[in-house]
């Protein structure tokens, strides 16, 4: 059961969010509240604004109207607030975006040392701890270019965790991976979910959504048009567009999702 927002101050609270790219209205009156520890999966056809929405949460995209409050801090133009929020919000990207000139370990300790000013020794200990958790401690001294896609994405997860974030955002973390590597990344994400991390995840992995999500949010055309518990959403989507979308991705994605 998802926790209701009233139990606690919500981890993320988005109210009447609007965003335009030039004249193009990409996000239209989006409202979303994510409680602490809640796992929300955002899905929808490409171009529906789901990536844009989660990129607004750590200000990689600027919104023009509405409010976003993360961990009690409202996102404004104020750089200090943006920095504070980014420190508490980790983000995973579709193409990993590890720093290729640094080793895996250096990737992991960079932000703790330079942003949180953690002593290097301590940062290394933390990094090794998380690298063990994503099951690649033996790759610590390699460069990202020497790792497979799945390994890189797991390093990216460890790199985020080293900052000890309160919220993690996932922007299609498995879309750029070969099929045989998707599982290793999803397994780590499931582990992470079990630790009680607040997660907002844009993904097409419906199997993952079923096992992990407290709630599924379906977007189309820049709007949230359906929001439900995963079982109910997959069993009986309420809107025609959601039905159509699920029909399309499940018809030939069934094997992958069920695997």
């Amino acid at each position: 059961m998802p926790r209701t927002p009233s139990e606690d101050t919500p981890a993320i609270s988005i109210r009447h969010l609007h965003k335009w790219y030039g004249a193009f209205h990409v996000l239209r009156d989006v409202n979303l509240t994510v409680a602490r520890g809640e796992k929300v999966v955002v899905c929808g056809p490409s171009g529906s604004g789901k990536s844009t929405l989660i990129r607004c949460i750590n200000r990689l995209e600027e919104h023009q109207k509405g409010t976003i409050v993360v961990d009690g801090i409202e996102l404004t133009d104020n750089l200090k607030r943006i920095d504070r929020i980014r420190r508490e919000v980790g983000m995973l990207f579709q193409d990993f975006n590890l720093f290729p000139h640094l080793t895996v370990l250096e990737n992991c300790i960079l932000a703790p040392v330079w942003v949180r000013r953690v002593p290097e020794k301590e940062a290394v200990q933390t990094a090794m701890h998380y690298l063990e958790r994503v099951r690649i401690p033996d790759q610590a001294d390699k460069y990202p270019g020497q790792l497979s896609g799945g390994q890189q994405q797991r390093v990216a997860i460890a790199r985020c965790l080293c900052m000890n974030p309160r919220v993690m955002l996932f922007d299609e973390p498995t879309s750029a991976l070969d099929p045989e590597m998707i599982k290793e990344v999803l397994d780590v994400m499931v582990d992470l979910a079990q630790t009680g991390m607040t997660m907002v995840c844009v993904t097409h992995e419906m199997g993952f959504a079923r096992t992990v999500a407290d709630r599924v949010v379906f977007m189309d055309g820049g709007e949230i048009i359906e929001e439900n518990e995963p079982e109910a959403f997959f069993a009986a989507p309420q809107t025609a567009r959601a039905r159509e979308f699920l029909g399309q991705i499940l018809s030939h994605g069934q094997q992958a999702a069920g695997a």
Binding site: N58, R59, L60, D83, R86, R87, V89, G90, M91, F93, D95, N97, L98, F99, P100, H101, L110, A111, V113, W114, V115, R117, P119, E120, K142, Y143, G145, Q146, R159, C160, M163
Partner: protein, 465 residues
Amino acid sequence: MYVKHERHPELPPPPSELGALGWLRHNLFSSWGNALLTVASVALLCWTIPPVLRWAVLDATWLGDTRDACLDSAGACWVFIKVRLGMLAYGFYPQAERWRIDLFFLLLVAGGGPLVLGSLLPRRGPARTLATRGLAAAGAGLALVLHGLLPGLLAAAYLGLPSLLARLRAPAAPGAAAKLGLALLAGVAVHALAPQGVALAAGWTALTLTALVLLVPRADEQGWRLALLLTALPALGAVLFLGDGTWLPEVETDRWGGMFLSLVIALVGIATSLPVGILLALGRRSSLPVIRTLSICYIELIRGVPLISVLFMASVMLPLTLPDGMHVDKLLRALVGVSLFYAAYMAEVVRGGLQGIGRGQYEAAQSLGLSYPKAMILVIMPQALRLVIPGITNTFLGLMKDTTLVAVINLMDLLGVIKSALADSQWLGFTKEAYLFAALAFWVLCFGLSRFALHLERRLRYEKH
């Protein structure tokens, strides 16, 4: 249906692909046209090299101290270079004070050498420590033997400082800004107490070092060596070259000359054009319209005019605009001119590198909470600069050779000194030797730089370790 159960065995390549014969076939005689070219090239070399060799080495005069030694030889007269070597190297810098220049370059080699060596030797292991420490010890020893006790001590202090500093733990007090302020205050205090000469250099060094110690959370020996090379050594150089009037007699810059002056201009140009160029490149890509416009205007304006005209402007026009009695040293004006000129070129090279870095890298850095400067210094610039090492090297080489243009504003660089040496009525007619020597000197410097850059490029290729 077809099923294959056994793997095909691995076979060696055919003999025509292997050995010296294979190499010759591939590289020199791969086709009729190529074979013809090979033969023609060998013939050309056989035709041109022997006479040059005969003139420059076999028939040349190496011994003697006067012009008479060369009278009955058909080859080059290297005696001229030998006799004038001091002037070619130091210009009109007073004989008794030339050790100061030697000491500086000794420190440069012994202090910067480990950085080069460090990148040549494996990252871990005793060889690197031994080589870098050995070089430092040798530098200090050489200074002691050649220049006496005080210079020896100075060299030992400078060269030993990096390993000392690396052992210091940075104090973990909060507030980088407060620390920087403190360091600035300390620096200003030192400057106020002793406004010139040795004390000024000491103050500058103290200031920059304090700032570095306080601001940088971690730096190893090599890091400190680089930091000292960029902060303390220039200050030391300025005092050594100029003198402070009490311990070291002052030497006016119009007596500086020769290879020394060329090197000073090249080093200052290289050391300032890169950072200024980086700032200009960032400015040009800034989202703030004022900064962007100013950067674009500066870059396009400077790239649109020849260096000679910049030098002329700095030398002739600038004094006219300055108020009476205010005097800016001619060398300083040339230095500023060369640096700012090359900064514009550097900016475009760096911008090329920045464009090679994907948006994802910026976003990853941002999402981890790195501020703009930190993201640039730690994530973007290391990648962007590595990408454009060939372009940076190119610009540096151009700068090095363009230092000869300062001759047009009557600075006595290597070419200027050669011109005045050739005008000596006792030594008329040795133009070939003099300019060949100059060409050789520049070639050695430029070739060394280009080889080092090439090596650095390979060393920093992180995709395939």
